[in-house]
Symmetry: C2
Subunit: 236 residues, 2 copies
């Protein structure tokens, strides 16, 4: 483990709380536009629910390469249609779509990353596109050394190209990079190309009623409660 030089972080759910952030943006929009009777947490879940299927369509070649901003907009268009929300201008819809650029970090994220960065290169490794991740960091003070994204390989996680491209760009063999994520599938894909893996528990990602993932017995190198705990466990 002493050979690890860089940490690559999943972002949605691991670093930032997409669900309550998207719901807050929805509520703000609703009060501005007089939209009533919406469950904005359910809206956030539905929007996020379109994410895996739309990436799968890109993966199967049914859609050309599109970054997450474009996929988010496609999903949003369908969702607004379905909900009968038809009064938004293109500018308002674009602003709502870019709510994903403004997601709020979990309370421990900035403090934990600030400690981790003293010893490791800290990079994003998200399906989010470079602009989204850059704007998010600027909005929230997330202290990345480097913005890496699935966009740079034109593949989506968990395709192996995403992880191997990231290690190449960091100039490191895969075993000197540790993937940090709140999702087992992401870590398993990282381990398959030779990366190390740190699981961070985010029991509130899907809300208080969400079902936390069972990672008992998974062969990850570290299990941490949050980023401060991860910094402790990595000796930062």
């Amino acid at each position: 483990m002493d050979s690890v030089e860089a940490l690559a972080f999943d972002v949605f759910g691991t670093v930032v709380d997409w669900r309550s952030s998207i719901a807050s943006e929805g509520e703000r929009l609703a009060s501005e536009k007089g939209i009533e009777g919406m469950d904005w947490l359910a809206f956030a879940d539905s929007w996020r629910g379109g994410y895996e299927p739309s990436m799968a369509r890109v993966r199967r070649g049914e859609l050309p390469w599109m970054n997450i901003d474009a996929l988010h907009l496609m999903i949003l268009d369908d969702l607004l249609d379905e909900l009968g929300i038809d009064m938004l201008t293109e500018g308002e819809k674009d602003h709502l779509n870019r709510a994903w650029h403004r997601l709020a970090p979990w309370p421990d994220a900035v403090a934990g990353l600030t400690r981790l960065r003293t010893r490791f290169v800290t990079a994003t490794l998200s399906n989010g596109n470079v602009a989204l991740l850059t704007n998010m960091a600027k909005n929230t003070g997330l202290p990345w050394d480097c913005i890496l994204s699935a966009e740079l390989s034109r593949h989506y996680k968990p395709d192996p190209e995403v992880y191997s491209t990231a290690a190449d760009l960091l100039g490191l063999p895969a075993e000197r990079v540790m993937m940090v994520a709140a999702h087992a599938s992401d870590l398993e894909a990282a381990q398959a190309v030779g990366m190390r893996a740190a699981y961070v528990s985010r029991p509130l990602e899907f809300g208080a009623g969400g079902q936390p993932e069972d990672v008992t017995g998974k062969p990850f190198d570290i299990f941490a409660d949050d980023f401060v705990d991860l910094a402790d466990k990595l000796g930062c």
Copy 2:
């Protein structure tokens, strides 16, 4: 000009002083290894002198895609042969090659960038590879929002793909991105894809005896004396 949202910076010569940094590393190595009689500023010039020709070989397809770390090492090998320096281990040679990851910023660079970053997304846009630029920022405290590199398009500046890929990754039309460089050819190539251009004068890039570039009459949007002057001129 008010529509500019991001600044993309050339790095070697514009942000960092490669010449005296490389010479210092050479001098340190010489004293450790007992190498005598070398002119390390001339060594820096020769190493840098191999840079354009080697990128041109990649551009013409004579070499496969290789990042700058790999090109620097190829040039260094030839240079050490030529100078009869044959006592370095592979590890020592690799450490010397990575001197480009440790280049020192010009005295105004960190202060100017810190101000510019309050208003603009600040990104590198260098022929240097992502790992080199990331390590350099970490070593020196250069406050980038985003590390962009020619490596991401597998082309070298001034190929247009480098600039258009950068604008795409920033999620901006080219005219909302301003290239900042101390070299007219870099700015002209950026303008050719629609970017704005800020020329920053670095009269000491090639030493006190170097010939400053004549940019009289060039159609750049801004001419600045350094990054603090650029921050003044951009209202930061």
